[in-house]
């Protein structure tokens, strides 16, 4: 076990939510990514040891889902290019974001601060075109706002990104303008579920 005690305790809390330890493999993979900053063999081995799976079974899950990344910057900017966003300029947003960061979709900026990706539908067709930063949603993004968003990520190096805050600063029209506030932010490219977040939101 190479994880510090707090991380291990966090992992055991997550395992305790499920009837079978192996059911916790997906959230634990986020814990592993948060610990190493990206998905590593060692992280998968750790998850395997905690869940009673073999390492390759963990890798099988991790390699199936695109959000477990072996190479990733401090933040992931996901630009939707599915049909609604595409019709409303998602491709232009992606081009602007690539221009601002200097890397094409699927790659990480030279300074390691931002990974750009093009993704399929992220469930925000009503507010297209949509972008996610560390899976925090921003709707109604223009190419200019997208570029500004990336420049901010690369210069300010925010420790936490917060969807409602990003929406106010870089977003436009939303699918549901009167939606409930979401108090949980993300501390990197690992989704944070629940008040404390899967990966431990306190820090």
């Amino acid at each position: 076990m190479t994880w510090p005690d707090t991380t291990l305790a966090r992992a055991r809390d997550i395992i305790a939510r499920y009837p079978e330890p192996r059911s916790a493999v997906m959230p634990l993979l986020y814990v592993a990514m948060r610990h190493d900053g990206r998905l590593t063999d060692e992280g998968m081995r750790q998850v395997a040891a905690l869940t009673g799976m073999t390492a390759v079974q963990v890798e099988s899950v991790a390699s199936f889902y695109s959000m477990y990344k072996r190479h990733v910057g401090s933040h992931v900017v996901s630009v939707c290019t599915s049909i609604s966003c595409h019709l409303l300029g998602g491709r232009d947003v992606l081009a602007a974001v690539s221009d601002a960061t200097g890397v094409p979709a699927g790659e990480t900026s030279a300074d390691g601060s931002v990974t750009i990706e093009s993704v399929e539908c992220i469930g925000a067709c009503g507010g297209a075109p949509a972008v996610q930063v560390d899976y925090e949603l921003i709707e109604g993004v223009t190419p200019d706002k997208g570029a500004e968003l990336c420049r901010w990520l690369m210069t300010a190096h925010p420790e936490v990104v917060h969807g409602d805050d990003l929406q106010t600063r870089f977003g436009g029209r939303r699918s549901f303008p009167a939606g409930p506030p979401d108090p949980v932010g993300a501390m990197g490219p690992y989704p944070a579920f629940g008040p404390l977040g899967t990966t431990g939101g306190e820090a």
């Binding site: 063999d41 998968m44 073999t54 390492a55 390759v56 079974q57 890798e59 099988s60």
Partner: protein, 802 residues
Amino acid sequence: MSDPIKLTVDGREVTAPGGQLLIKAAEEHGTYIPRFCWHPRMKPVGMCRMCLVEVEGPRGKVLVTSCTTPVAEGMVVHTKSDVVKKAQEGVLEFLLVNHPLDCPVCDKGGECPLQDQTLSHGPGESRFVEEKRHFEKPIAISELVMLDRERCILCARCTRFSDEISGDPLIEFIDRGNHTQINTFPDEPFASYFSGNTVQICPVGALTATPYRFRARPWDLEAVESTCPQCSVGCRVSVQASQNQVLRLIGVDVDATNQGWLCDKGRFAFEHLRAPARLSTPLVRGADGELHEAGWGEALDLIASRIGAVIAERGPAAVAGLGGARSTNEEAYAFGKLLRGVLGTGNLDASLGDDPGAALLAGVPHRATIDDLERAKTILVWGPDLKEELPVLHLRVRRAATALGADVVVVHPRATGLDRDAAHVVRYRPGEGAATLQRLAAGEGDLAAVRAALDTGPVVAIVGRTGLAESADLADAVAAFALTLADAKVMPVARRGNVLGAIDMGVHPHLLPGRVAASDAAARAALAAAWGCAVAVPGRDTSGILSGMADGSIAAVLLLGCDPVADHPDRKAAAAAFDKAPFLVSLDLFLNESNRTADVVLPVDTFTEVEGTMTNLEGRVQKSNRIVPGVGASRPVVEILEDLAARLGGSIGAGAAAIAKEIALVAPAYAAVSWEALDWGRGRDGIVVAEGPFTHTPERRATDPSVGALTLHLGRVLYDGGTMITAGPSLARLAPEPAAHLHPDDASRLGFAAGDRVTVTGNAGSAAMAVAIDPTLARGTVYLPFNLGASIGNGLEVKVEK
């Protein structure tokens, strides 16, 4: 399975047990539905879609996968309609989209389900003109298995086998969509004892075994069914050979024993048959003290004259014979008859002191069959780590635990392969076995729940030596306890392939052929009448023979496929006995630690080279068949022994077939066994011989010796320093390095870390090796794998020093 139900398949009304899968019901009535992913010994997944059939329903006909659909009353099924044909063509066209069609250079070509079913059910032409996906081909996923991901059709047979059947899921699907592939974790190879099975069940040429790659074409192979001799489970195998050389073994699906599976040792150990070191001519020790090649006549004349001289000078009690546990029943019988009848000595033993005792093996009342595991509610395993010693029995117990709902109780000094699937695991320190049994029987303290579990019958107790440092009395005591349980049967286990058969054939000082007590004068007289010569009175067993060799009272020894210096638990005592250099004759495949000092070494024909029978640990007699000749001038054991008998003025019978008939006549338990019965029909599954007449009542007489702070657990591993392992290139490199395994608490108390070099001292020597940390080990125990080149004796007391 519930009541039989009626359904219609292609217009024909058939009956099937309720709950049976459609694909199987159809097959049993002569309608073969093509398939890739479905395997009768594994759970269905419906992944490949090849088995689509039309089933009539209230909304018309629908396509369903017949491997995931159970039969239902009144079901109307069409397996050959135009819609089904179109579906099959579509599925095959899809499966072939990324298949490289490199059949001319593929080992599977000629026996490939993808090839065959494309021919019989495929579209003939593909519309796919794009670039196929490419992978590096092939990659080694273990020392034995190569993976060609381009050929893979993602049927998940291999991954399901490793997860469901063998329980070591080291291969899995990686990535998704068009990138999906089978692979291992980057630095964790597919190091499974059962990896060869995935090669056998792969429906394409994606998985191939290194020992067979590019060695033959299926249509060039001859095959014969036989019995694997590597351990006493007696797995049914198809031995396949080309140009007088065995090239591979395939598991044959027999309900009663292996259910189609083999371990990698059984599957790949055949390489020793054509190993360069295999003996091909008789060797006789010359005046210069070296072994020299000799003719058969010269070698046999020498043996006859020297043994004749020993008998003339010192009487037949100065002659002894060891071995037979790796031979066929016919060979063992001939060996026993030569010793008891022709030479007149009762000093003979097939058991080398590393099993739970011949009495328990041959005479246990209420012996369990392997198939009793299918019905058992509780299985007690207090014996060797089955995965290391009897791997396919391990699979059967695992199946009982994971698929049939049996509760498994494992009692062992360290983690065994079964622990993960066991309901209860009891750890104990070697030397505290009797006390542990006492506490278990009484249900004391933490063992109360375990004891309660054992009250649910039927119980099968698998009993053997957990380690070689512990007394065989413990196994007897465990068997005695197990027989007190409700509806219990006992399966005493020993590793060596035909040890029970050899004992049954009378290669034991106290047992005549057919488990008749040798002390019974009337039985000896009856046997003497059948043999036409006197039958010797009981003599010495293995330890008696070894001490007789050491003190000079045994002056001539015959070894039949037997290496006591390597295999006897007290190797030092065995080596000391052989150092005394009595007149030593060895019938064997290789020079080994015991016969290096022999006066005459005779090369013998072995598995795949002789016809005969073997008796497995449940008393099941199965046929072993010949498909290749021996090497060089090697000869069948029975012929060698007959020639020797003739030179000594006796006879043991002309050939194995005649001896087989004689066994049925003189051995009561084997009266129903004949080669003809075993070669045809149901007899191919083997015939379980009747219990008795000799019976042994196990006793709780084991007591714990007083031992110090550390005791030795001397357990076996599958790949050890055995000659059949080390002679074959594929398995030889799999044997681990010897290591002294310590519990972390003991290691920190003694100040050792993993990898430290230490000296381990037992009752018969010291050996230097690395420390390995094993948190599953009982505290106060040093685990040392047996026969890996480090030998310290088999006493319980052990010391570990820097």
